[in-house]
């Protein structure tokens, strides 16, 4: 039985405490609040809707299981770490020697490994829309750079959380962001005039 009714204006920490106290409604609110950022991150990393749906589900199940040990200040960052660990575990099941770094090593990419059993990626590189071109440019980034970019721009996480998710220093995370921006700038230079007109 719910002891206290969760409210929209409650913080993540308050909702988590309510959930630990037995409030299912608090968990529902947390899921609805963070589903877009968590799924967006997973979707960008895996590139496959089916793999992303599975990872999303598993991330929340793991989060519910570990909720009692949650000590983080940033709940979305903690969720992203759970999601990332799950994605890496799944990729390694298919290809044990796989790591997030291997995309540049000429071997099977992390993304192709995770998407191996799923349908084709949702995104079409041939899209004529500006969004499609930006998405295609984003897809062409090395995974670690893309991950930093997505976590910052789409999930809106601060760098202190991004470097914890990637288990790296803040300088490395910032350098990856710099490379990602430089690469996007170069890839989108033909669209640049159009982009500038849109803002």
């Amino acid at each position: 039985m719910d002891l206290k009714v969760p409210a929209e204006d409650m913080s993540d920490a308050e909702l988590i405490n309510l959930y630990i106290g037995g409030s299912i409604a608090a968990m529902e609110m947390l899921v609805m609040r963070h589903k877009a950022s968590v799924f967006g991150y997973i979707m960008n990393i895996t590139g496959s809707r089916q793999a992303a749906e599975d990872a999303f589900q598993e991330t929340w199940i793991r989060a519910m299981r570990k909720m009692g040990s949650f000590r983080d200040r940033n709940f979305p960052g903690w969720l992203m770490r759970i999601a990332r660990n799950y994605i890496i575990d799944e990729a390694r099941k298919r290809k044990p020697e796989l790591s997030l770094d291997c995309e540049q090593d000429g071997g099977l990419s992390f993304k192709s490994a995770i998407a191996a059993s799923g349908p084709a990626p949702d995104r079409s590189v041939a899209s004529k829309e500006l969004a499609g071109r930006i998405a295609a440019a984003l897809d062409s980034l090395p995974l670690e750079q893309k991950e930093v970019f997505v976590l910052r721009v789409q999930a809106n996480l601060p760098f202190k959380d991004i470097c914890r998710i990637q288990k790296t220093s803040i300088n490395t995370a910032l350098a990856r962001m710099q490379y990602a921006l430089a690469r996007l700038r170069s890839l989108l230079k033909d669209e640049y005039v159009q982009i500038e007109r849109t803002i």
């Binding site: 630990i20 877009a36 749906e53 909720m67 969004a131 921006l181 996007l184």
Partner: protein, 198 residues
């Protein structure tokens, strides 16, 4: 004038931190001073703003299917969240219980080994005696016995003697107290008779 690339890279890191709202006041001042004199970093800031804003506005928002969200919510409803913190302590409790079980097993095994040992033990003192015999062709060639204070010492002495036997480490020295004239290992002789060197 030659451009300081490393300094510009640091300033671009500060620009990125500024965009994420993590820039300290001191760094913000330094960055402002640098931007006044660096056209490249200014261009980087304008490109970054352009790309980030466009990605935020143009890229489609990915949402999980209703079915997946419902499965997650179903899992939440079927769970018992108030039990979750208790599970953390269950691991520790299970670890302590396992350790206790191992200690009990070791204790009982040692006890049983003492009880079933072929050697006797001096009542009261707790000292144990081992009699070791070397047989060849159906006849006892050598016999040895040791006493020990503990199970470990007993096993150590037994191992020592077995090595001696396997390595033929015997001397044809008759035990002066033994009328049967059995041959004793050197180590044992030294143990039994302080006059014989080890």
């Amino acid at each position: 004038m030659k451009k300081n690339t490393a300094h510009c890279e640091r300033m671009r890191n500060l620009l990125i931190l500024q965009e994420s709202g993590e820039l300290t006041a001191g760094d913000a001042e330094e960055l402002a001073r640098h931007l006044d004199n660096c056209a490249e970093c200014k261009a980087f800031r304008s490109d970054m703003t352009c790309i980030v804003e466009n990605c935020r506005t143009c890229l489609p928002e990915h949402l999980p299917s209703d079915n997946t969200v419902n499965l997650v919510l179903e899992h939440a409803r079927s769970g018992k969240p108030n039990i979750i913190p208790f599970v953390r302590y269950m691991r520790t409790a299970a670890g302590i219980a396992a350790l206790f079980a191992v200690m009990l097993s070791v204790f009982f095994l040692a006890d049983r080994r003492n009880a079933s040992s072929p050697s006797g033990s001096d009542s009261g003192s707790g000292r144990m005696e081992i009699i070791l015999a070397l047989a060849s062709g159906g006849e006892i060639q050598a016999e040895a016995s040791v006493t020990a204070d503990s199970e470990d010492e007993k096993l150590q002495a037994l191992s020592k003697q077995l090595l001696l036997i396997q390595g033929f480490g015997f001397e044809e020295t008759a035990d002066p107290d033994d009328v049967t004239g059995l041959f004793m290992p050197t180590a044992l002789l030294s143990r039994n008779n302080p006059s014989v060197p080890a």
